[in-house]
């Protein structure tokens, strides 16, 4: 044990410690710093407190979705419906608040419940109908988006009550509400994934379903909870987005699953499950946020931003799998 540790170089030791104790990849922190430095050099506006808060605010929705992606992918699953379910949830909340005129609390509940129900259906189909997660959630991507358009009759729902708008635009202590909600969600999610039995079983399940089953974990039941949780988090993201833009937009969240999954993978989540950390995912989400913010400041068209995100996803998976093969484990 001791002899092995001394054989490793300093860098490798720091790396191992950060991966094992803090559950993050050092490379992703380096990328974040390098990217931020580059942006700061390229744009005079980048390094300001207001832009920093802007980045965090823009990251909050993606961040919540990325937490959902981390749980699902860590458990060996996949949720491609995140962006659509987020759109559906936002519309559902706006419909309850505006069209039905119900109290804001019910609108908030409607957002999260709509997401949870969509996630629950995903979980049922994956575990009972033996349809692969990829297909189930791809189907849900279409279903949820279509339902959002049906409910809203294809138009954004305006006129949200002030309590809801405060969730998206309020700034207690100068910090945007969505940022506060993201940070709190991330802290709870980190605790759950890294330190509770539920979190450990999630990763064990993604690592080897057979081992989890042999250990007596109720594999299907656990998967259904994960997909429901994922949907509920997409619902929360829908609430944050709807409140921020002050409208229930049926086209909200298109392609967001792409960014969320990319953030999770950059953060060190194994695409095939078994390894994941919320801290890492948050760094991944920040990288995506800085990238988008920087490209916007540099007046790069959003079409190219989309291409950049897709490229980063493939690159992140390539680097991850390259390292796995190099260490030749698993």
């Amino acid at each position: 044990m001791a002899s092995e540790t001394t054989q490793l170089g300093f860098w490798a030791r720091v790396q191992r410690a950060s991966v094992e104790r803090l559950h993050i990849r050092l490379e992703s922190l380096v990328v974040l710093l390098a990217l931020s430095t580059a942006m700061a050099l390229l744009s005079p506006y980048f390094l300001s407190l207001s832009n920093f808060l802007n980045i965090l605010l823009a990251t909050s929705t993606i961040g919540v979705l990325a937490i959902a992606a981390t749980f699902v992918i860590g458990s060996g699953g996949l949720d491609l419906s995140l962006g659509s379910v987020m759109g559906l949830a936002g519309v559902a909340g706006a419909f309850v608040a505006v069209n039905l005129g119900w109290p804001s609390v019910l609108a908030v509940i409607a957002c999260i419940l709509a997401g949870a129900i969509a996630g629950y259906i995903n979980g049922q189909l994956v575990t009972r109908a033996f349809v692969p997660a990829f297909i189930v959630t791809l189907g849900m991507l279409g279903l949820a988006r279509g339902l959002a358009l049906v409910i809203s009759q294809g138009r954004a729902i305006y006129g949200l009550p002030p309590e809801i708008v405060y969730i998206g635009q309020g700034r207690p202590f100068g910090i945007p509400m969505p940022v506060i909600i993201l940070v709190l969600t991330a802290i709870v999610a980190h605790m759950v994934l890294a330190y509770t039995r539920f979190g450990r079983h999630t990763l064990a399940l993604g690592d080897s379903e057979g081992a989890a089953r042999a250990a007596g974990i109720r594999v299907e039941h656990h998967r259904r909870i994960i997909y429901t949780l994922s949907g509920a988090l997409a619902g929360l993201a829908g609430l944050l987005f709807t409140a921020r833009v002050n409208a229930g937009d049926p086209t909200a969240g298109i392609n967001y699953e792409l960014t969320a999954i990319t953030a999770a993978i950059i953060g060190g989540t194994n695409l095939f499950g078994g390894r994941a950390s919320i801290l890492g995912t948050m760094i991944g989400a920040l990288i995506m946020g800085v990238l988008q913010n920087g490209l916007t400041l540099l007046a790069v068209q959003s079409y190219y931003q989309q291409m950049a995100i897709g490229g980063v996803l493939i690159l992140a998976v390539f680097i991850d799998q390259y390292q796995v093969r190099k260490e030749s484990r698993v």
């Binding site: 450990r200 080897s208 042999a214 007596g216």
Partner: protein
């Protein structure tokens, strides 16, 4: 006293009929060898005992209780442990995580929030368990996928023994082990018997089976074809019951040499 009794266990996978009515009983503290050809259904039979597979028909009683309707977790809690042939380890998790998977000890975080896994306690107990087995692992904080086959087998054995089982099923526990480690597993089985723990040992190494068991059950054509008292049988008989006709003498001679 009978600890485990199976009656008329049947199991098929689609068109493949594997078990057609197996009867088997194991007494507390008894060591039973289960032998048979490749594909005879040994692993399948054991998985119906641990609950990974559900028997198509038949009954399973453990400790006087009908356990047929219980899931694997509930059966583990009753004291049935198994070392699977494929080991069933979570390769990216470390030693303690594997040993305690599904039964992690918890503590309160900051003395307030319950339900947090007590990792340091897990590590401590895991290290003690590995030491008790007389095994050597490079580090208990490494993912078990980075270990050698024999080291992984040690982890699987430790997992089966940590929670005071009443019955330990070992499916080829020595397949990946060196000579010295094989001996320590055989010693371990003897120690378990002296502590009153029953063992079902599946192995193709008939010398080991003959040296450590009280009884040997031969699985053939989907049935428990022979039930031999180890003290009253020998290599020739066991081999002939496994192959059942054909070139028995040659097979026996081969086993004796090997």
């Amino acid at each position: 006293m009978t600890l485990l009794s199976l009656h008329g266990i049947r199991k098929s996978f689609g068109a493949v009929d594997v078990l057609h009515g197996v009867d088997l009983s194991v007494a507390a503290g008894e060591v039973v060898g289960l032998v048979g050809d490749n594909g005879a259904g040994k692993s399948t039979l054991m998985k119906t005992i641990t609950g990974i597979y559900r028997a198509d028909s038949g009954s399973i009683e453990f400790d006087g209780k009908d356990i047929l309707a219980l899931d694997p977790g509930q059966r583990r809690r009753l004291g049935i442990e198994m070392i699977y042939q494929d080991l069933s380890l979570a390769k990216q998790q470390d030693v303690a995580s594997n040993i305690f998977l599904g039964r992690e000890p918890t503590k309160r975080l900051f003395g307030l929030f319950p339900g947090f896994v007590d990792k340091s306690e897990m590590d401590r107990q895991a290290a003690r368990m590995i030491e008790r087995l007389g095994a050597h692992l490079p580090s208990i904080n490494r993912s078990v996928g980075s270990f050698s086959g024999g080291q992984q087998q040690t982890v699987a054995i430790a997992r089966a023994l940590t929670f005071n089982p009443k019955l330990v099923i070992m499916d080829e526990p020595t397949a990946a082990l060196a000579v010295r480690e094989v001996q320590s597993v055989l010693d371990l089985i003897r120690r378990l018997r002296s502590e009153g723990i029953a063992v079902i040992l599946i192995s193709h190494r008939l010398n080991d089976v003959l040296s450590v068991t009280d009884r040997i059950v031969v699985l053939r054509h989907g049935r428990a074809d022979a039930d031999l008292v180890t003290a009253k049988t020998n290599m020739n008989e066991v081999v002939s019951r496994i192959v059942g006709g054909g070139d028995i003498a040659a097979a026996a001679a081969h086993e004796q040499r090997g």
